[in-house]
Symmetry: C2
Subunit: 256 residues, 2 copies
């Protein structure tokens, strides 16, 4: 018994088990009932980052809340590759970088405050909402963890020593990404991309004297910070991540 | 005799030789005189895609035209890697893809009309202006050629047979990009990225039956078309392009 996969996917915080009833929050209820005009009996897909992706049917539509009934498993849970993205938020583009990082499978987003940064504060809740929306749309099974904004020394002080940190060195230091990727053992990784103005001389020194940090270059052209984040993340995912897997958008077999 | 590199770089169509006088068009004249407030005696950098990058000084500022005098060579000419990007224009994001492709060093942009495309016409002049602006800003020495909008059968019919065309197969066919990149000989390359809605079944069949076309996948998550273009272009440039070169933003030695 198969049926076409629903075209709406929602991330929910609740545990997902067959027969479970979920009452959606105001935002998702509004989206489902008013924007997408779903009615009792309609099907959607839900996921929570732990229990896989489930089919759920709309049970009851009230003015400010929609209740779903979870019916059957569509896809088993899968973790995204263990790849963190630390990045200096970019004026007007922080959400865009978060959205692309979710599509490209980053498992954690770590906004970093650097010397030449223009953005001095971030709205973590808004960033989380963006990450959830991007995960819903790109068929991802989990949502990356979004860490609190910290400065570069704090990032390095809290960084696990066994996790290699690839750092985009716009000053031309470092080896090529190709060489780095071809020579490294597998293991947990992170990527650090600086702000539009680049890192300061002191930051470059601090990074280069940190054992787990590996500087790399991205060629002769000056990449915008958002381009650099997407480009480097893509290379890392292509070489060390899960790009050998097939897309999950084909109609699913029933697991129930 | 060295001096700091000017912070304004302009693409000009004229030949560049020491002593040459250039009269800028209305747009660039307005930008230089009114927006950036440059006056007679100020220095800027100019390039034309053939003769290298030159220092030029503002000679005369009139209401609608600025005249420059070309003084000395700052950098020798360099060609971008021979990598074409064929892409289905994306509603509201065509210029963004062009900008990123210029930063990532694509040597030609080929807008392609596909079955599921939403965008049915493009403004080639506007796209060229965007590409020029992106080249000026990213320290690139040339501007990619922008071809006329054609449909997929015409693209394939005019494609040189010795140029491998990597095609992003969102349906999950094809091998991984990593394997493709590791196994291919060097040579001229192209990349094809489809529209938001993906290629049609007929287009997939047409592509797969074309000898110079190599399908590849980009993992389990569904990438937006603009993300896919940037991500795949970055991987190709990282593996087959010029990312082993250093950025050209350091102060230059005098060649005069």
């Amino acid at each position: 018994m198969t049926q076409p996969k629903p075209d709406i996917r929602l991330y929910v915080p609740q545990p997902l088990v067959a027969g479970e009833r979920l009452t959606l929050g105001q935002g998702q209820s509004h989206y489902l009932a008013q924007v997408m005009r779903r009615k009792a009996g309609d099907s959607i897909a839900v996921f929570n980052g732990h229990d896989g992706e489930w089919l759920a049917s709309v049970e009851y539509v009230a003015k400010k809340s929609v209740t779903l009934e979870v019916s059957r498993l569509l896809r088993l849970q899968k973790r995204s590759p263990d790849l963190w993205l630390a990045f200096a938020p970019i004026k007007g583009k922080t959400e865009l970088v978060a959205e692309k990082a979710v599509e490209l499978g980053a498992s954690a987003l770590l906004p970093v405050f650097t010397r030449h940064a223009v953005v001095k504060s971030i709205n973590q809740e808004k960033l989380e909402a963006h990450a959830i929306e991007a995960a819903e749309q790109c068929e991802r099974m989990d949502v990356p963890r979004i860490e609190a904004f910290k400065d570069l020394p704090a990032l390095l002080a809290h960084w696990p020593e066994d996790r290699i940190l690839f750092y985009g060195d716009e000053s031309g230091g470092g080896t090529t990404l190709r060489l780095l990727l071809s020579s490294l053992p597998h293991g947990p990784f992170g990527l650090l991309i600086g702000p539009e103005g680049g890192f300061s001389a002191e930051e470059h020194r601090m990074l280069k004297s940190t054992p787990f940090v590996k500087p790399f270059g991205m060629g002769p052209r000056i990449l915008r910070a958002d381009t650099a984040a997407v480009a480097a993340l893509a290379c890392l995912q292509c070489w060390l991540g899960d790009w050998e897997e097939k897309p999950a958008c084909a109609p699913m077999e029933s697991h129930a």
